[in-house]
């Protein structure tokens, strides 16, 4: 383990200190080496690159963050919204990307279910399975942040549900970050044939206003007939930088209900990638976005239909107040041969101020015949007549605004099948909405 006085920043020396001072198999060391070279070779993204045209990184200082630091003697208080609300079968808390504590219903453990630190799992009997899948679907050469993640990642979480096993209650992962620290954790979720589970992930900042960095990767592998509900509630404080590559690959008849809460972050840049890799697989994507102050949240989604009779249905809804900026760029790609694919994408944004800005850009790329693909995007303002109508029924302007904004999100909230997650999202939004002043 690196000691306190070693350089653990995102530098050459930091890389050696962070990546190699822990026991790990050679294949992983080699993977890190290659990723690091790519990280070094690639330029910091800038606005001349198509995907970064709307996202300004000028204020981002990579070297101010630590890729690794020892856990404090006393764990800080973690202001989770979901721990008190969610009745779970398992819980893992990570601090700066590395495990703090975890528990799993012993009955599930006996059935072979795993919820643990990813690094530990490699050393504890899961090396073969993890080696086969780690960075098997996520492209770590995609950009500088993907390579940085693959080179530096520590801790992480590993979820495995064996064939035909059903986990009834959610497994919860709370990722907490301390000031100046980075979370470069990797999430690997594998559901074997016919397995079912709900995994909920929540991110929280220990400090309400100090800057931190998340540069993470999520890989979700669903074998035939597996069913997963996955929630990613990104709720960092508004000083944190969030760079995420998230990808799920679904084998035949597998299904995924994937909910994203895009709430926190000074700047968030997310690639969410859904691959319908087996016939009759189905993915539902729900996005709940709320931006305020000077937040910049950029979500790039790809629904990739590779096989026949696959279905994807994406709905992102966003509200913006103050000088915030939301970017949604969606793509449905249907490969030749993916006949009878059914793809849908939609993004609706509600502007709560004159100074907020939104770019919503849907896209289709269809190489197969006999498919059904539709898309839509809207951006609108709060209707002053709706506010007045509520006021004539005794509601204050703020209460009226909250009601109208909550109503705006209802369509996407109704699609989320986990009650406590829906309630938590509603509460967070209601808490943040201020009085609409046109």
């Amino acid at each position: 383990m690196p000691s306190l006085n070693l350089d653990t920043s995102f530098t050459d020396e930091g890389f050696h200190n962070v990546a190699f001072h822990r026991p790990q198999p050679n294949w992983l060391k080699e993977l890190r080496q290659r990723a690091y070279r790519t990280f070094e070779d690639l330029p910091m993204p800038n606005r001349s690159m198509e995907e970064w045209r709307r996202t300004e990184l000028r204020h981002f200082r990579l070297l101010q963050f630590q890729a690794w630091s020892p856990h404090p003697e006393q764990a800080p208080e973690i202001p989770s919204q979901l721990i008190p609300r969610l009745d779970t079968d398992g819980l893992i808390i990570t601090l700066n990307g590395r495990k703090l504590e975890s528990r799993l219903d012993p009955a599930l453990g006996q059935q072979g279910v795993v919820l643990n630190c990813l690094e530990d799992s490699i050393l504890n009997g899961w090396e073969e399975l993890i080696r086969k899948h780690l960075f098997s679907i996520l492209d770590w050469k995609y950009d500088k942040f993907a390579a940085m993640h693959a080179a530096f990642w520590t801790g992480g979480i590993f979820v495995y549900v064996p064939k035909d096993i059903r986990v009834n209650k959610p497994l919860l992962h709370v990722a907490a970050l301390m000031p100046g620290q980075a979370d470069v954790g990797h999430t690997l979720i594998i559901l074997d044939e016919g397995a079912e589970a709900t995994v909920v992930s929540e991110t929280v900042s220990v400090d309400p206003s100090a800057s931190s960095l998340y540069c993470g990767g999520i890989e979700i592998i669903l074998r035939p007939g597996a069913r997963l509900r996955y929630v990613n509630m990104q709720n960092w404080n508004q000083a944190t930088f969030h760079f995420a590559h998230q990808k799920a690959v679904l084998a035949e008849r597998a299904s995924l209900e994937w909910t994203l809460g895009a709430l926190g972050g000074r700047l968030a840049k997310v690639n969410q990638h859904l691959v319908l890799d087996g016939p009759e697989s189905e993915g539902i994507v729900n996005g709940v976005m709320f931006a305020e102050n000077r937040q910049h949240l950029a979500y790039h989604t790809l629904q990739h239909h590779r096989t026949p009779k696959t279905k994807s249905d994406l709905l992102y809804k966003g509200a913006l107040q103050d000088q915030s900026h939301l970017v949604w760029r969606g793509m449905i790609r249907v490969e030749a041969g993916a006949v009878k694919a059914d793809g849908y994408q939609r993004n609706d944004n509600l502007m709560l101020s004159q100074t907020a800005r939104t770019d919503c850009i849907p896209g289709l790329e269809i190489l197969a015949d006999d498919v059904r693909c539709t898309h839509g995007a809207t951006a609108g303002r709060v209707d002053e007549e709706e506010i007045f109508y509520c006021q004539t029924r005794g509601l204050t302007r703020r209460e009226a605004t909250r009601l109208v904004v909550t109503g705006f999100f209802q369509q996407v909230l109704d699609r989320i099948t986990i009650d406590s997650v829906r309630e938590a999202l509603t509460d967070i939004i209601q808490h943040r909405v201020r009085e609409y002043r046109g």
Binding site: D383, E385, G394, L403, V404
Partner: protein
Amino acid sequence: MSPETLSVIDLHVSVEGKPILKGVNLTIRRGEIHALMGPNGSGKTTLGLAIMGHPRYEITRGRIELDGEDITQLEPHERARRGLFMAFQRPVAIPGVRLADFLRHAVSNVRNPARKEGEELIPMREFRKELKEKMDLLRMDAEFARRYVNDGFSGGEMKRAEILQMAMLRPKFAILDETDSGLDVDAVRLASQSIAEIGGRQMGLLIITHHERLLEHNPPDVTHVLLGGRIVETGGPELAERLHREGYDQLRQKYPEAAAEEAALAGQGKQ
């Protein structure tokens, strides 16, 4: 002013700088029914919205008093909490907000005028029971309350939802803006009957209408005729009947000045 009255005193109202009302005077005592008639564009809806405090309707002169208190500067929600209500001609939809949730917020505020945002709502059980009673009374299906406020409602459904809100909020004074428009004969009769059944008589009502039928179960004590932004005649129920019979042309001849103002307003409206 005596208590339990709604008074409009020398009210001048402009919309986007254009004068619409030019000195309206009106006093309604609680328990009275007033009919407000007049051709399209004479300012009837403007009067209603100005009384409710719509931000686009600028009061340039005069005032509105409720039980002797000047409420001209109050926010719309403060007026509602003091007992004013308006049933809109074309209420807006609020997608995603269920009528029952909307009404629970409304009832909680209107019955507890000092309520601050975030404070307890009226208990769910008590609210549901009362809502069911009122919906039964109005012969409305319970499922209706689960729909989003005015979202995809037919004309008739909107009007009935407005009457339901009035029944739940039990205002001191209610303005009914063409609650009969767009309804067929039977639906107007039902609306008229419903207004009487929910206790319209105990309130003060200002009924804006073109139809005699809405007044069938709510015979007016006083009838006002608005023309070109002024009340040109005030009478009893016989005035309403006469206007229904004869239309407004005779009034225009009798009040050429107001008729000219009306024509000018209509011209502005077309620009």
